[in-house]
Symmetry: D2
Subunit: 499 residues, 4 copies
Amino acid sequence: MPGSDLQERGERSDEQVSGAKVIAQALKEQDVRYLFGVVGIPVTEIAVAAQELGLRYIGMRNEQAACYAASTIGYLTGRPGVCLVVSGPGLIHALGGMANANMNCWYKECCLPPPVSMADTSAVCQAASVIRSARQPLLIVGKGAAYARAEESIRKLVEQCKLPFLPTPMGKGVVPDNHPNCVGAARSRALQHADVIVLFGARLNWILHFGLPPRYQPDVKFIQVDICAEELGNNVKPAVTLLGDINAVTKQLLEQLTKPLWQYPPESKWWKTLREKMKSNEALSQELASKKSLPMNYYTVFYHVQEQLPQDCFVVSEGANTMDIGRTVLQNYLPRHRLDAGTFGTMGVGLGFAIAAALVAKDRNPGQRVICVEGDSAFGFSGMEVETICRYNLPIVILVVNNNGIYQGFDADTWKEMLEFQDATVRAPPMCLLPNSHYEQVMTAFGGKGYFVQTPEELQKSLKQALADTTKPCLINILIEPQSTRKAQDFHWLTRSNM
Amino acid sequence: MPGSDLQERGERSDEQVSGAKVIAQALKEQDVRYLFGVVGIPVTEIAVAAQELGLRYIGMRNEQAACYAASTIGYLTGRPGVCLVVSGPGLIHALGGMANANMNCWYKECCLPPPVSMADTSAVCQAASVIRSARQPLLIVGKGAAYARAEESIRKLVEQCKLPFLPTPMGKGVVPDNHPNCVGAARSRALQHADVIVLFGARLNWILHFGLPPRYQPDVKFIQVDICAEELGNNVKPAVTLLGDINAVTKQLLEQLTKPLWQYPPESKWWKTLREKMKSNEALSQELASKKSLPMNYYTVFYHVQEQLPQDCFVVSEGANTMDIGRTVLQNYLPRHRLDAGTFGTMGVGLGFAIAAALVAKDRNPGQRVICVEGDSAFGFSGMEVETICRYNLPIVILVVNNNGIYQGFDADTWKEMLEFQDATVRAPPMCLLPNSHYEQVMTAFGGKGYFVQTPEELQKSLKQALADTTKPCLINILIEPQSTRKAQDFHWLTRSNM
Amino acid sequence: MPGSDLQERGERSDEQVSGAKVIAQALKEQDVRYLFGVVGIPVTEIAVAAQELGLRYIGMRNEQAACYAASTIGYLTGRPGVCLVVSGPGLIHALGGMANANMNCWYKECCLPPPVSMADTSAVCQAASVIRSARQPLLIVGKGAAYARAEESIRKLVEQCKLPFLPTPMGKGVVPDNHPNCVGAARSRALQHADVIVLFGARLNWILHFGLPPRYQPDVKFIQVDICAEELGNNVKPAVTLLGDINAVTKQLLEQLTKPLWQYPPESKWWKTLREKMKSNEALSQELASKKSLPMNYYTVFYHVQEQLPQDCFVVSEGANTMDIGRTVLQNYLPRHRLDAGTFGTMGVGLGFAIAAALVAKDRNPGQRVICVEGDSAFGFSGMEVETICRYNLPIVILVVNNNGIYQGFDADTWKEMLEFQDATVRAPPMCLLPNSHYEQVMTAFGGKGYFVQTPEELQKSLKQALADTTKPCLINILIEPQSTRKAQDFHWLTRSNM
Amino acid sequence: MPGSDLQERGERSDEQVSGAKVIAQALKEQDVRYLFGVVGIPVTEIAVAAQELGLRYIGMRNEQAACYAASTIGYLTGRPGVCLVVSGPGLIHALGGMANANMNCWYKECCLPPPVSMADTSAVCQAASVIRSARQPLLIVGKGAAYARAEESIRKLVEQCKLPFLPTPMGKGVVPDNHPNCVGAARSRALQHADVIVLFGARLNWILHFGLPPRYQPDVKFIQVDICAEELGNNVKPAVTLLGDINAVTKQLLEQLTKPLWQYPPESKWWKTLREKMKSNEALSQELASKKSLPMNYYTVFYHVQEQLPQDCFVVSEGANTMDIGRTVLQNYLPRHRLDAGTFGTMGVGLGFAIAAALVAKDRNPGQRVICVEGDSAFGFSGMEVETICRYNLPIVILVVNNNGIYQGFDADTWKEMLEFQDATVRAPPMCLLPNSHYEQVMTAFGGKGYFVQTPEELQKSLKQALADTTKPCLINILIEPQSTRKAQDFHWLTRSNM
């Protein structure tokens, strides 16, 4: 490391100190409250100076995670988070976080309370008229609506007009997931048959299948509500675009649709179809969840987690099936309380996000918890941040949903059998991780609580204890069926001849 | 695109498969033997195809470490290593590795056995004449000499001409550290008083204090031997530059200096000065090493490690004091058997380097071990790769030299006392990590062996066991004095008023 | 050039042809009407295919100018212009144009008719209230207002509320320069003493002295009307920000200020001060313009040009004094009819801009002219485009205001004297160009008309002829005082001893 | 920032002046002799300061050309040339030059006299043995040989070993083109049938058809002599690679082949084949050159130019056919006296190169001329630099070989006929330029001499006058057959229906 000589390390030059103070003071004036980073010769002084001014400095274990944490702060608090890194390798390690933040459209609007713009009045009229004439309408509530703090106005719109709505992954909670008008449990059906869809800060990217058939009607009419002109008209030709602050525009729309009040008939065929589909889907999930076979499947796990999930907790999630299936089962009741790997699908963000959310929770509402639902592979990207969690004693419960691999893995017996004649460096399939790893020991290593869980009963019990004990972070390592959710298939790894 | 839909994941299109085979075949033709990475939708097939052709695929836990591993392979084997990442976040995570490799000048020469160039004959004569007239000569053996496999010729030069030499961090082992002509133990003295210095693939960067006074004589004559013209004449104006393959040029020089044989008088005042300085420095280290107070200091730890260090092991190291002090005590006897954080000072490289070295060791010489000496902060950057080490059962012994912080930390009592009235998020100094963390449990979590060590006796015993048991990886967590090597200073953290 | 072999040139592969057709078709569908470029192996086919679909391809002489031309089309027509370049050097030559377009905020909004957003109603009320309470109000009309086609609403606001306004360089003509409320002739005074300034798409960059004292009152209240949130609050802390489409927001403001009607008193002291300052400034200009000494000064030249300037012409301009002084004298009566070097101050843009404007003029309004006012140095950057102008017979009159240099030059006698004893490569001052260059011959070389003009009478006559003859492009080379507008100073070039 | 305020321009701050002096002094210490640029606010002072120290500043008309000029100086003089540009647009305009210099491998080696490296002795032996066993050997002399100033050693090798050689475009003149061993006139044959090819600083890029069949024997043995390891083994697998300074390596090779002397039999079948092919090709050229039909063809033009070309002149060239055909007819007798558009094929480099060459010529050898052979399209990229040439009165003769287009154009009658019913903006083919343009007037506009030439007699006469009159620059505009060298083809432009 440049500057590694002991003598040099010992000397804190006056210039560095005063420069650090100037920077810290500037951050304070911008109302920055949290800094994340890994200190090194030239930035330690800045961290110290920031602390002296009352800002929080959270020392992380890798700049990657530090940057993911910092980027979350803006979304949660409306004020910028700062990532403090040394030049050279530190900066490069942080690039992942910066790219991720950018893809999720965080950053730049934080610096001043942004002015509010409204949509063109005539376009609002036109949108209202399209909605009124819809036979199978659908609202989609996206991350942009959460970011714009539009929860009140959107909820009013949903309730007064009696419209079905669907949240995107990070739009969950803007209107509570258990709201009777939420049709998340009939997502595919709703998307596929809607004739008018209003997008509130939701982007037609891969998560929403780009807005294209066969996942949508070819002649579906999209109404886009967004703050960002460049997003309008991407992939599809919208019927109406409403450019402006999402909260302000929703209010405009609400006014148009409620004076005089227009309501979508709650006994329409469309509502009936959606309710039936939800019922049958929920029954299917319920059936999967109640399977008694061991190891557990994803649905069993998430069913039990949902049962005990505190209503006000933050839910952070990353992984493949873990994130996808978890999102359908775990409910959010508050806006901006779900954080997941997002548009960019970046693995390694979870613990950084959870740390940021826990800091915010701790300051706002002592007792509030962060539940961090990780796939086992995802956890590996930044698992060492568990030490950070323990050091700062953050109110985080990590669930590692462990299938021994990426997408899928092997059970311990198959693994052992596979290695009987040859070495893992020759023979281990690329998606396999070590079976039955004790990730919970990564938590106990730093004084937190850890559980190794193989049955529904153990899961219930460990969750109960973890949520009851507010003095320590906790990790519950949940073993599930390694080939879970995949159809039976030929087991080609063991049968390939020339390996 | 992150392909989160289950259906999409299930479909392995024919195009992907055949494209993957083409890539794998091309890698094989380039004589690539090892791939490192984290699989994801589009690259899993490549990993599988590579395995089918007999290449090794090593699945890592974060692209950062994967890239550090891949970059090491070129240095160790002369053949390129490959890092397999998904586009987007995977690529960005890998940037650190690529930047590091570049700063260390690895990569590009690997693709074909490079042609050999020699130095201009007249310049060689001139260099020989400068050496012959030197009163206080010094050879510096750098990483470039290791890379050029110049060990035989440089050793001959040292021995036949009876010249003192000094290795750079990664030049260690080109000539064994215990060679009587090695003046590593009098490094500062040797640099400061030499009148002629011959650099063999060593760069005058911060590690060598840029070649400038007061660390050097103002009129010191540098002779630079290097393959890279752009490196010649940086920072200093060399007396002679020898551009060419370092091995070939050393042979040219050797011929000039040995026909007829010229020898530097072994009883010169210069040799006497150096020998005396080495003796006094070694006595000082010895004194530090033999201190009985607990917690141990760095010298005590490395003294005991050196006692048991196998002569043929790879030594990988990263950290601040851990790397710097460790380098002076731990000896290398073979070229290209020391890997450290290098020119760029990147933290997080250690486990990736160790994994690569272990693969090479395993294939070449079963029984050979990799000793990975990590500072506790450094370990945190990629500690989850311990699972990788266990999964592939790699012959690695990790030593975490644990001072509870970055540069320095607190002991457990001080830490506790500090938090009595306020929270760690408010009060913890930026360089502190959690005291007495059980890093060894990160190893036991995955089935490896772990030791928590606080005394010289425990250290000796655990090292003995770790080196004797070749069936499992091992981590020895060595607690040292948290304020080790730092002068006593006011304890301003606890006394600052307004925090 | 890659692919320069005759055989290869002769072969137009089928793939290239069909690829070219696909690209041309896509451009047509985006409603692209004009392409500019320099053809080469891979792009000739695209140009041909575009022509076959009825698009215009204008072959330029350097990619630099082609890109400047293309970037103008978006501003003038609201549809994207396209620049067609070969890869490698062609692309690099075009970078200047791309950077310039970006600095001027052209490009990206062109692709779809953008949705319109309005300002927050409460912010509009607040802005109206600030304006109503202003004692010395000022409107500044910027390029953004021109781009947003807000001419009608801004004119109404100016007239109904009787407010003074000031155009920025490219805001000229949104409201005609000869409007009685235009206070351009008292620019410095107006900026310096206004207490409330409303910016309509005008940015507080160097052209507006960053909005800072001493050019402004320290407590001036800025109201910013802009489409771009990132521009709001730069350099100054605005009193109110109105984010939205500038035309829509102006209408909102107009409604607030006219129902009931509020008017700024036309007999206020502020109006009196401004009118007096305008009168005295105009008298000063008039005095300078009427000077009879030869060579002419800038004011004399522009005074005569203004006398004959057609009201509907485009005015394009670049240079230093030429652009700055010309802008104050030459009047614009129509929006989007002035193009100059803009925010970035790029030299070399003039002829490209003029060519684009001429194409638009020719299609919209045969008989409309483009007057391109160039400094002599500025003309040199892309003077060869005169061939392009002649080839397409574009209705352009170029005025080269020629002071034999950059900022200033020498007269012919001084030049000759200076070279009596030494060569120009040794002695010529960096800002001097060849005296009395016959730039008009660059026009006659390609069949256009050229005039070499040294007196007011010659200038009047040549302008009259140039504007009367609509069959040919024309260049009037106007010699002015080489040291014009500069105070007398020591003539150090001739007196320096050791050159 | 473009500093358009008059006041600001007037003030030369003391800091700027002293900073400028420091820069100028540093340039002088690096032995920089020539600066090229376009001045503006912050760099004028540097130009002035440089002049005061005796450096030459050449003010150009566009940064593009300035950068092309600066990059040439390194190649011609071995000392760096400097391009002085303002930040922002100036820098961007200069990028073309920088990219071009990089592709041609100029720049960086200039800063210090580079150390010389030699090839591995055993590789030299091996190369000599391959050459000795060759049945159809060929030497290719590239720009790298010129750059390395290897003319003497390569000429000795050619003559003592009696080997046939072929120069690349910028390798022309290392050994004179009229040397009896030069087989340039049988280029295709020589490449296609050689069994051993030695490349001296010549790269197997598109100019040499990448070294691949069918332009080469599939089993041809390449011996590569180059300073740059990365270039070795590109595209082909060479039989031997000799890495080192090209001049030093050629001497090593020469020693191997001449002690004892080995000679390739001058009466071999290979020599006979080559001589016959040269004779027949030269007859063909001669026949084309002697055609009496008007307009002239390329061969007629170059034949007459070659007749009068001074042996010591620099030849600069750019264009498509103009450069390709001109290169085969115009002879070079001195190394580093031909400059053309090079590897990158950049158009617009010619006048910048010519200006740089003229400065060098003027200083070294008064009376020496630069002949700049330009296609008409190529001339348009930087034609305004003619003013620069006239201002500094540089000894340049520009020949514009004018075919009214890019690759090809129309004659005046066809052009007129084409425009009878429709406008050029609709109808002009992309590759056509204005027919019969009087480019020579671009020269007379600035006081140089100009000729408009349509017949061989006019060409002869104008060349004679131009070369005799050393007091003024000159431009000869040579009209040639617009469809020259292209087979008859359907004239689809006039017959396309819907245009």
